[in-house]
Subunit: 541 residues, 2 copies
Amino acid sequence: MTGGARTAAPRPPADGPSDAGGVGGLSGPAALAGGVAGPLDPAALAGGVAGPAALRPLLDTVLTALAAGAIERGGPLPAGLPGELAQRVSAALRPDAPSADALADLTRLLVHGAADPADPACAAHLHCPPLAVAVAADLAVSALNPSLDSWDQAPAATVLETELLAELAELVGYQPQQAAGVLTSGGTESTLMALMLARDTVLGAAGSRPELDGIDPARRPRLFASQAAHFSVQRAAAVLGLGERAVVGVPVDHAQRLDPRALAEALAASVRAGETPVAVVATAGTTDTGAIDPLPACAELAAEYGAWLHVDAAYGGGALLSDRLAPLLAGIDRADSVSLDWHKLGWQPVAAGVFLARRAESYASLARRAAYLNPADDEAAGYPSLLGRSLRTTRRADAFKIAVTLRTLGRAGLGRLVDRCHRLARYAAERIRATAEFELHGEPTLTTVVFRVRDVGRRRSGSQDQGRVRGWEQDWGNAELRRRLLETGRAVLGRAELPVPGAESAAPAVWLKLTLLNPHATQAQLDQLLIEVLRTARELD
Amino acid sequence: MTGGARTAAPRPPADGPSDAGGVGGLSGPAALAGGVAGPLDPAALAGGVAGPAALRPLLDTVLTALAAGAIERGGPLPAGLPGELAQRVSAALRPDAPSADALADLTRLLVHGAADPADPACAAHLHCPPLAVAVAADLAVSALNPSLDSWDQAPAATVLETELLAELAELVGYQPQQAAGVLTSGGTESTLMALMLARDTVLGAAGSRPELDGIDPARRPRLFASQAAHFSVQRAAAVLGLGERAVVGVPVDHAQRLDPRALAEALAASVRAGETPVAVVATAGTTDTGAIDPLPACAELAAEYGAWLHVDAAYGGGALLSDRLAPLLAGIDRADSVSLDWHKLGWQPVAAGVFLARRAESYASLARRAAYLNPADDEAAGYPSLLGRSLRTTRRADAFKIAVTLRTLGRAGLGRLVDRCHRLARYAAERIRATAEFELHGEPTLTTVVFRVRDVGRRRSGSQDQGRVRGWEQDWGNAELRRRLLETGRAVLGRAELPVPGAESAAPAVWLKLTLLNPHATQAQLDQLLIEVLRTARELD
């Protein structure tokens, strides 16, 4: 790429020649006709009356590349070392003459180089295979490009998000008329939002305005979360100017659940030390094991100490869709705020994060008047604005795909998908427990199964293999096994570092993790995956 | 929706009946076959080998609804008051039995209720009509759902984002080997990222660790931005714990450009007062007028005072694509960080924000080690991680659509689109200046034209019309005119509140704004739009 600003002389632009030549050297006069562009015009638009005709052949190209690339990959991810794939991608991206084949070529490469969560052997992360209906709905959003920072960029989408959030507030157990929320990029943004509102509400209760004046460190604000909570709590504390050290890590029990007695002690000690407990973050579905903190006890304690209760149900919120599993989240309606990620147990393409606050008025510190987006006279005239709901300005209508999915499958239909994943997790745990070479970490709560292979690679544990890091000698085996599964393209398994239940030492060991989010994966496929793990473990010996 | 957690008893889940009945009451046995689901299965997945076959009929449904909805709307937005549309959307969303028609019905409603930027009369905001090729590329991302928080969720996409960012760093004038960056949700997240790195770098230079220990208010950190800068600067200051009052608003000249002498004075006064200048934010393309601050002077002053320079080129960064316009951004390569939004002058669907830092090491305070995402032994084994680049964890591969667009059109092809919009803006300014009933605010710099209708609605200015707000009597006309254009479905024009150039009073008046981002819009369509504005203005008299 040339012609950047660095070497250019600072002169005002002169009018160039008239633009009769089309765009990218590829288009004819059609590119110049207002809004009407033929399918071969690389600068054709997706919207308008002509958009669908321009899109159709391009979508066909993508579908063809998706099918071809998946067959070419032939498994959950491409075999090989990361450097090999990197070279191939770099070569394909090297600046060259513009090409009408770029969409086909790069899509095929993206598919070839994907870790596809629709493959039952891709089961590492809270990384779901999206539903086709959600993906199709997301296409409409891409084509129309509504942006939720003002009504006049998203008339229907503004209403649609508001209605969806009311429905989800009800699902959580909130009074939908009193609640408010917003779609987010995921749990991390939701945590940031929650802890910002907590900071401004709790510290602001004494009359200060943290959002205007900054933080008064004399208040010594503290956040409480279990040691198994997601690192986004620490990250939010850093972003918010509280500092990571403001986070008090509360001990967990053997199943990685927050210990409520430890929380009570930590809160009491904090207040004795003159600190201000700003928030308690309870996790409903930890990343490592899917553990759910005792929500009622957390609610009691947060209320007692005047702290905000945020329930991070980014993963476990999916249980609300299932009649069988919803009781696991009893007490969530007492949270001041909740996060749910529909790109986890909701089968949406990223992003589909949901943040909900029990009381709309807790959004006060985020309220914002911008003359170009939500002038007072427009609001008085009935034009609603969602600007004050989000940390973002421009914002994609991620609510649409969720709404379409809910209306297509219903809560019950989605609940059955959750139940299937949960049942598969229980089946996997059973098979792992029945296999002598495996060690199960504990019973699955949601859809995560943590286990390891006993004594894998022990005979090579003294060697200097690539990827071995000092201090992990005793765990080299399962870490290396996981990488071997990646390199051979056989499986994408997750990894966790957790103490060994019942062991004297609290030192963490490396575990393998199955995060089962594919509702179509069968028991036979799960068996096959475990066989692959054993076979690969034996190769390492 | 029923069955939420609020009323459910807290009992552990029991195993339900076996799941032979399919999903949502609509599917047959195909829904249970692993990964192979027929097109009529509402729970079919988009990925895998079977995904394309499941997607094809659904995409067809969307294309049909896009075409039908656009014809039904018959203009840039639906005519009517917001409440009328809201009722229609609410009715369509009302919980009902799951329906296989939901995708078609809701898409048609979304299209009907859209403000479609592909219509030349939709020209209010930095809200671009996306290119069909970018929308098609985004479909592949939705289907495969790569997430950039770990290599094993996005092998190819991880490389692709890294390569794209290096290319964009070069476009800005950075040394790509030394720079680093990340895709963001847009300018607001990029500003937050920039000011967080600025906070941690500048305040941390004295040995403190703001990201760990929180902010030391004794340092009295200050941020400097022009009074025409985007409100995301204030919002970031609030989020970051600095407080909105830490932002010093620097006066602008008649063309809304930061006055460098005023910046010099503000910085000097700040230091004299014992404050710490943390960052200067220069805007390359303001939201209201597209004004570009004097970047070289800002760079000099930021360097002199040891402050971070962030250039918000969310809008104006598009000029880098055009040989004619790139000189307007001379000096941008001296910024410590830059934001570019490809969902503005880049014709991408939202989100396509780009954040770039000149020095990769300035990311230090965001570095993050998570055992489940980027363990040290995996990195040693060659698995790259982008986790420490972003404020998010789960992150969609927004780089893909940009990369496909760049390879399809080339920088030069995109530059021609920028030039077209720029030429149309100059044409619009010329026509407005030549029309006695219009008043032009100033010459357009990029693609924004600000103007107003003289004496509109003056005869009714004493009345008590809906939407009139105290203090705006003299401006009732243009504000009401803009709403009338919305209500009649004729046009979506922007709004700005700016002083009248040359007037004695600095009090802001209401202006109309054309933000011209449709490269296919013609001069004839622009003429028609201006005629519509005049016609509507006369209706108000």
